[in-house]
């Protein structure tokens, strides 16, 4: 055994976005603790600047087609990784912008808030590149650590403390499951790298191991039956943190799920398709039915998020190249609609100090802009044409039809109708009910920016989706042979 590590300059280039963001983070932290009485808004804009610079770097990489692997295939930068990194960073920018007013209500540790948000984003960028089970474990924990602190950030608020504790205990339990699953898989295959596992024979140990890893990742994305932490954590956490938690970790965990099931477990597709069919049906149905009874807008969005993840899982249940394309596109539409809706909730919540749906009565009188924006975001979440959500759902359903998953399709369509009901209840309250307090609601510029970005994304993805579809198709190009691998593994071709 000798020391073998060769790192050239071009290898380090692959890590450039992460290295840049790490340095930027440390500089932001150093500025925060060395300059007394610095306005936290400066820190926020400094953070946004760093994240946008990283984002541009990644877009440039995507344009040039920079790809490669590092550290014996543990870290991989392909177009899928670049897509998810851009996804995470885009949501980070929007979350930081929508946090600025909220952070004013903190009395201490304002600058650190942005540091922790960026730190979690960095962890999720690493997750998007993780290509072996050890890096999956380490990067997943890294990104979750920041969230543990962020969820419990409101020290005075009992709900926030409770949310932090629940999230922490269940998160640590999920980490334990993940570690146990990884150890079982390693014991069966003797390797941790996904691409090296592709040709291992099936066994109980492998199945149980991957089931546990799936449970841990299911916890991250909030799929039923691993969703129990979601409502209370979303409810108690500071609203911008809820917004961040509802989108970025789901994207990063989906990146790992796609890699794991498409690369390492491609040969066992007929088995794991069933797993995703069940998880998808449960998530959609449970999320939508329980959402109807919600009185709090954050809980409503939490349950709607569970249902949306059910829709995303349809793509994995299809298990094809088109399925993965559809997942990427769907997540993109969900990012804009979901963060837009949360920006409205933050904007309203900052002024009226309440997240109850009752208090959205007559929002149209108080702020026509917020009400109209919320209307569009909710309709996109429900999947109404010509908005982004419609194209996303269509894409996912087409992937399901390809694989003749008609049961899943039927359940998905019924769920769209159910979800329409509770989204429209909110719309009715905003437009038809009379406000108790008709004073107008003023929206600050950063939140307005986030809402405009959300609106632009929702409309452009809905009306002119072609360039984005081409982008996601290119991002998953490496999976174009995924069905062939199944055919090769099963000589009699009974998959599907």
């Amino acid at each position: 055994m000798t020391f073998d590590l060769v790192l050239s300059g071009s290898d380090l280039l692959l890590l450039a976005p992460e290295i840049f963001l790490t340095v930027w983070l440390c500089v932001v932290l150093a500025i925060d603790f060395s300059i007394k009485n610095l306005d936290h808004e400066n820190i926020a804009y400094l953070s946004v600047g760093g994240v946008i610079a990283t984002l541009l770097n990644l877009l440039w990489f995507d344009y040039l087609g920079v790809t490669g692997t590092l550290f014996h295939d543990m870290f991989v930068l392909d177009r899928l990784a670049i897509f998810f990194k851009i996804f995470v960073l885009l949501s980070t920018v929007l979350v930081i912008l929508s946090s600025i007013d909220y952070v004013k209500s903190f009395r201490f540790f304002r600058g650190e808030y942005y540091f922790l948000v960026m730190m979690s984003a960095l962890g999720m960028m690493f997750m998007a590149s993780a290509h072996d089970l050890l890096s999956v474990f380490v990067t997943l924990e890294f990104s979750t650590f920041g969230f543990y602190v962020l969820v419990a950030y409101l020290r005075d608020d009992v709900k926030s403390n409770e949310a932090g504790l629940k999230f922490f205990i269940l998160g640590v339990f999920a980490a334990g499951l993940l570690a146990y699953g990884v150890s079982l898989v390693y014991g069966e295959t003797g390797t941790l790298v996904f691409s090296e596992m592709a040709h291992t024979p099936g066994s109980y140990g492998l199945a149980i191991g991957f089931l546990m890893i799936f449970a841990a990742l299911g916890f991250k994305i909030g799929a039923v039956p691993f969703h129990s932490w979601i409502p209370d954590t979303y409810h108690g956490a500071p609203t911008p943190v809820t917004a961040f938690l509802s989108i970025a970790p789901k994207g990063a965990a989906m990146a790992i799920l796609i890699r794991m099931f498409y690369v390492a477990l491609a040969a066992f597709k007929p088995t794991w398709v069933l797993l995703f069919v069940v998880a998808s049906i449960l998530s959609m149905t449970y999320g939508n039915i329980v959402a109807i009874a919600q009185k709090n807008i954050k809980r409503l969005l939490a349950y709607s998020g569970i249902a949306q993840i059910g829709n995303v899982l349809i793509g994995l249940a299809a298990g094809t190249k088109r399925g993965s394309d559809a997942i990427l596109f769907y997540l993109l539409t969900y990012l804009f609609a979901n963060l837009g809706a949360f920006a409205v909730v933050i904007g309203v919540g900052n002024l009226i100090k309440s997240d109850e749906i009752e208090d959205y009565n007559g929002l149209n009188r108080r702020s026509p802009f917020l009400a109209a924006a919320m209307l569009i975001f909710l309709l996109s979440l429900a999947g109404v044409p010509p908005l982004a959500g419609f194209i996303g759902k269509l894409y996912i359903f087409v992937a399901a039809i390809d694989q003749e998953l008609y049961t899943l399709l039927a359940v998905g369509l019924i769920n769209i109708i159910i979800s329409m009901y509770y989204y429209l209840v909110v719309v009715k309250k905003m437009y038809i009910n009379e406000p108790v307090d008709p004073s107008p609601i003023r929206v600050s510029i950063p939140i307005k920016t986030v809402i405009y970005v959300g609106l632009a994304g929702t409309l452009i993805l809905g009306i002119y989706p072609r360039p984005f579809i081409e982008w996601v198709v290119a991002a998953t190009l490496m999976f174009s042979n995924v069905t062939d691998m199944v055919a090769a593994a099963l000589p009699h071709g009974s998959g599907g």
Binding site: T2, F3, L5, L29, A30, F33, S34
Partner: protein
């Protein structure tokens, strides 16, 4: 031919001194206590067992809640403990790792220095 189990036994016999040491330490405690219990004269009386001038009856539980400050210290201790553990295999293999190993560890320690200065500036190392 030696089997794996024989080899393992041979390997574990190297730990015999440690086992002996543990047994000796245990025996020291047990024997001292047992011996003093056996040879001491025992004439218990109510007056003799009560607290005399040099003490008073305990009036509350000895388990008082610790201030949260201890927790901060313990937490920082754990983190630095882990850092030091990482340094040890690095030091052992330093001659083979060369310059790149030095850079790796400098990055690692650099991030710790950031955290350390932060904790210092925020007063986490002060008692009040």
């Amino acid at each position: 031919m030696e089997t794996g189990l024989d080899l393992l036994t041979a390997y574990l016999t190297r730990y015999a001194p440690i086992l002996l040491f543990i047994l000796l330490a245990l025996a020291f405690g047990v024997v001292t206590l047992a011996l003093s219990y056996l040879v001491q004269p025992k004439y218990p009386e109510a007056e003799k067992l009560s607290a005399y001038e040099c003490g008073s009856e305990p009036f509350s539980d000895s388990r008082i809640p610790f201030p949260v400050r201890y927790y901060v210290i313990a937490m920082l201790f754990v983190i630095f403990d882990i850092e030091v553990i990482f340094l040890y295999p690095w030091a052992v293999t330093f001659d083979q790792l060369g310059l790149i190993g030095l850079i790796e560890m400098m990055i690692f320690i650099g991030l710790f220095v950031v955290a350390y200065i932060y904790a210092w500036r925020k007063g986490a190392l002060e008692w009040d």
